[in-house]
């Protein structure tokens, strides 16, 4: 009798445990729940400022205003760039993720192909004030051509050459470099004891891939053929990557320690603290403000273009920026769309883009004089004339990770003093290309 009772208890206990184990999922789905009738949505924001914490401080007042207007609470988590894509992938695979997420706009087509995001069809776009409100280049970077956007643009950006005017003056350099040779010459003059000509984020796959694209295009490379097939292993691409690596390897104007920089903020810190005189980057407005670097010391110029008439393309940036996407399996679709509307509204666009030094993605936000500064004007001019969008093909994200990671390894070699030839780069690219094709 006692034995049987024990047995029953054991079975009952096991079942109860199993039941609670399964039941544990309920609260997690979609990340949000309803508390006291009010809706809560979760939002993964990308790291736009100097730190995750500073981003939170920029966003929170806006989220509070959103709550006042709609009663919807937004729980924000700022995700560092080194984790963001993997986190989104994990959320897609498991179906357990936030309601709304920021993505790098170059990933749009890749993530669109997974079907994880809610497409912004014409009706949804009308709800945001219509397609025409958005800037053309930004809206083009929201997914594959011919399909409804997988996300809506919220911050517009491109690459530029940031330089320290005071250090330039002290080195006797009158103006920012206009050609690659001038950049190297200036870098050499600026590299002195404890200070370097230029800073790079040598272990950040994302940054490396962006530069690979820009300089690869300058050498005439195309990462994908017209049908969207990867073709990384071209001599032009290798030449573009070598052009970038040589800043450290051959010209010695980049601190070898930069080969360790991985989290996407260290090179910027070197620039704003005067440890490096130049930086090829997107907007660094928040870092500038926090560092206390005097405004008059800071200047922005386009990254030098290759000589006209050569094989290379006149490209010195790409259509960068941040898009906002809604997960398809959200339980709070309406709230998420309201949030998308809020984030693309004139007032929010002005406030947040001002804070981040980025460009509004909607036309009507440009009536604020804050977007008339020389820096913003320069960014706008680059974006409007010599920036090219990264290919919106499903394999774009894999291109960034594969080529970027290969470049991490190449930078490590260069930093250790090992020579890296065009053939070495080509071999790495061939490996990356092969992984992509066998992997796909």
């Amino acid at each position: 009798m006692r034995i049987r009772k024990l047995g029953y208890m054991a079975v009952a206990g096991a079942l109860a445990l199993a039941a609670t184990a399964c039941g544990g999922d309920e609260g997690g789905t979609g990340g949000g729940g309803s508390a006291g009738g009010a809706t809560t949505i979760t939002y993964w924001a990308s790291n736009q400022g100097t730190s995750l914490e500073s981003d939170k401080q920029v966003l929170q007042p806006e989220l509070d205003r959103f709550k006042q207007e709609t009663g919807i609470t937004v729980q924000v988590e700022v995700v560092p760039w080194s984790d963001l894509l993997n986190r989104i992938l994990a959320a897609t695979t498991s179906g357990q993720g936030p309601d709304v997420v920021n993505i790098g706009n170059t990933w749009s087509a890749s993530l669109q192909a997974t079907g994880a995001f809610l497409p912004f069809d014409d009706q949804a776009l009308t709800g945001l004030g219509g397609k025409e409100r958005f800037l053309g280049p930004s809206l083009a970077a929201t997914g594959a051509a011919g399909q409804p956007p997988a996300a809506v643009p919220i911050y517009g950006m491109t690459y530029g050459l940031h330089y320290n005017k005071r250090l330039f003056r002290e080195a006797g350099i009158a103006e920012p470099p206009k050609t690659w040779d001038e950049l190297i010459a200036a870098g050499k003059k600026l590299t002195t004891d404890g200070r370097w000509g230029l800073a790079v984020e040598g272990a950040s796959a994302t940054e490396n891939a962006h530069h690979a694209f820009i300089f690869g295009r300058q050498q005439g490379a195309q990462p994908f053929d017209p049908s969207g097939k990867p073709q990384f292993a071209s001599p032009q691409f290798a030449a573009g990557i070598k052009q970038y690596l040589d800043l450290m390897a051959v010209h010695k104007i980049v601190n070898p320690s930069n080969a360790e920089y991985a989290n996407g903020t260290e090179a910027v810190q070197d620039f704003v603290t005067g440890k490096a005189a130049m930086l090829m980057w997107q907007s660094i407005a928040t870092s500038l403000k926090e560092s206390g670097m005097p405004e008059e010391d800071y200047g922005l110029a386009p990254i030098p273009l290759p000589a006209a008439g050569g094989a290379g393309a006149q490209v010195n940036g790409f259509v960068a920026g941040i898009n906002l996407a809604v997960f398809k399996n959200t339980e709070h679709k309406d709230a998420a769309l309201q949030f998308a509307k809020f984030m693309t509204s004139k007032q929010t666009q002005q406030t947040l883009n001002k804070a981040y030094g980025s460009l509004p993605t909607v036309q009507d936000a440009y009536d604020d004089p804050a977007f008339e500064t020389p820096v913003i004007k320069t960014f706008q001019q680059i974006l409007g004339t010599t920036a090219e969008p990264l290919p919106q093909v499903p394999e774009e994200s894999q291109f960034e990770t594969l080529v970027g990671t290969a470049m991490n390894g190449l930078f490590a070699k260069v930093a250790a003093g090992d020579p890296v030839s065009v053939e070495d780069v080509t071999a790495e690219l061939a490996d990356a290309n092969q992984q992509m094709t066998t992997g796909g």
Binding site: M1, I3, R4, L6, G7, A10, V11, G13, A14, L15, L17, A18, A21, S82, D83, L85, N86, L89, T92, T93, G95, S110, A113, T114, G115, A116, A203, A205, N255, P256, S257, A259, E260, A262, N263, K328, P394, S397, Q398, T401, L402, T405, N408, G409, F411, A412, K413, A415, A416, A430, D431, A432, Q434, Q435, M436, T438, G439, G440
Partner: protein, 325 residues
């Protein structure tokens, strides 16, 4: 063998008739232990076996970016994922093999060093002396620290420009002129080994220390009277008596080390340098790099099979040796 499991039989042994009528005695006797471990079995199934089976299932799918949001739509890949992983002439298979060999070397060194350190510390701290308790506690600190906290601290220490290690080596002692890199390039293997051994050797120490408590003191005394020195007693008494402990300890250390993901992931971030590209992180990275989770699962299954095979061979070999002894 009489298998008389009739109700009457059970009643005859003094069990209440009602209970005995429902469950035959023999079954009842055999069944109880199983009933008692049932909760453990159910949870084991849920937590370990089910994900493992799902992983095996995934390895036969073309689970690429087009299907990860809806697995059921993924087409079957047959054995294609395994073919790619095992074809050492491709970039994928070749780098997997390289990572595997690297992990073998790493595991051999890490297990050897951890065991050596653990055994030395345990044996030396066998005799009682002032401060022994304090030292024991101190030795266990790396093992007690959360992995992330311990390893991230190491990653700060090992940074080239701002790390304490280079500060000591270069600025304080002037042992090297050029600041070495510890987190990228060739030294990253050494860094990983040091951090890993630092983290895991206290476990060997703990287990061996417990094992030593079972070595009778009088054996040592008798041997000492017969003139056996310290080394002789270590080799002829302590080590043979520790053999069953060592058998399990080495196996566990091997499995943990071969599978270790946390240390390289926290130390290097998601892309470990190729000199320290252990197999777990390699598999993780190659799945997330190409978004092909089927291929990553196939690699994981191969790893699982390898570890199972090694474990089986090891257990058979060591227990046979013990039988002969």
């Amino acid at each position: 063998m009489v298998t008389s499991t009739t109700p009457r039989d059970g009643a005859g042994r003094g069990w209440p008739v009602r209970a005995a009528g429902l469950i035959p005695v023999r079954l009842r006797r055999i069944g109880l232990p199983y009933l008692l471990i049932l909760p453990a079995i159910v949870l084991e199934l849920l937590i370990h076996l089910v994900p493992m089976l799902i992983g095996i299932w995934m390895s036969f799918l073309r689970l690429t970016q087009f299907f990860i949001a809806n697995w059921s739509a993924a087409p079957s890949a047959g054995l294609a994922n395994y073919r790619v992983a095992l074809d050492v002439n491709t970039a994928v298979g070749g780098s997997l093999l390289r990572s595997f060999l690297l992990t073998v070397v790493f595991t051999a060194l890490a297990v050897g060093l951890s065991w050596l350190l653990g055994a030395a510390a345990a044996v030396l701290m066998q005799g009682s002396f002032r401060g022994r308790g304090l030292l024991r506690a101190l030795f266990l600190v790396p093992y007690a620290l959360p992995v992330y906290a311990g390893v991230i601290t190491w990653s700060f220490l090992l940074q080239r420009d701002t790390g304490l290690v280079n500060h000591l080596l270069v600025d304080q002692f002037g042992l090297v002129d050029e600041r070495p890199f510890w987190l990228i390039g060739d030294n990253s293997f050494v860094s990983l080994l040091v951090v890993y051994v630092w983290r895991i050797w206290p476990f060997a120490f703990l287990v061996l220390m417990a094992g030593l408590q079972n070595v009778p003191e009088d054996l040592h005394e008798a041997a000492a009277i017969d003139g056996a020195g310290w080394w002789r007693r270590l080799g002829s008494i302590t080590m043979p008596l520790l053999r069953p402990i060592n058998q399990v300890l080495v196996l566990v250390l091997f499995l943990w080390t071969f599978n270790d993901f946390n240390t390289p992931y926290v130390l290097f971030g998601k892309s470990a340098p190729e000199q320290a590209d252990l197999i777990s992180i390699h598999i993780y990275q190659s799945s997330f790099v190409t978004w092909n989770f089927g291929s990553g699962s196939a690699m994981s299954v191969l790893l699982l099979l390898f570890l199972l095979a090694v474990t089986a061979v090891y257990l058979v070999a060591t227990s046979r040796r013990r039988d002969h002894a």
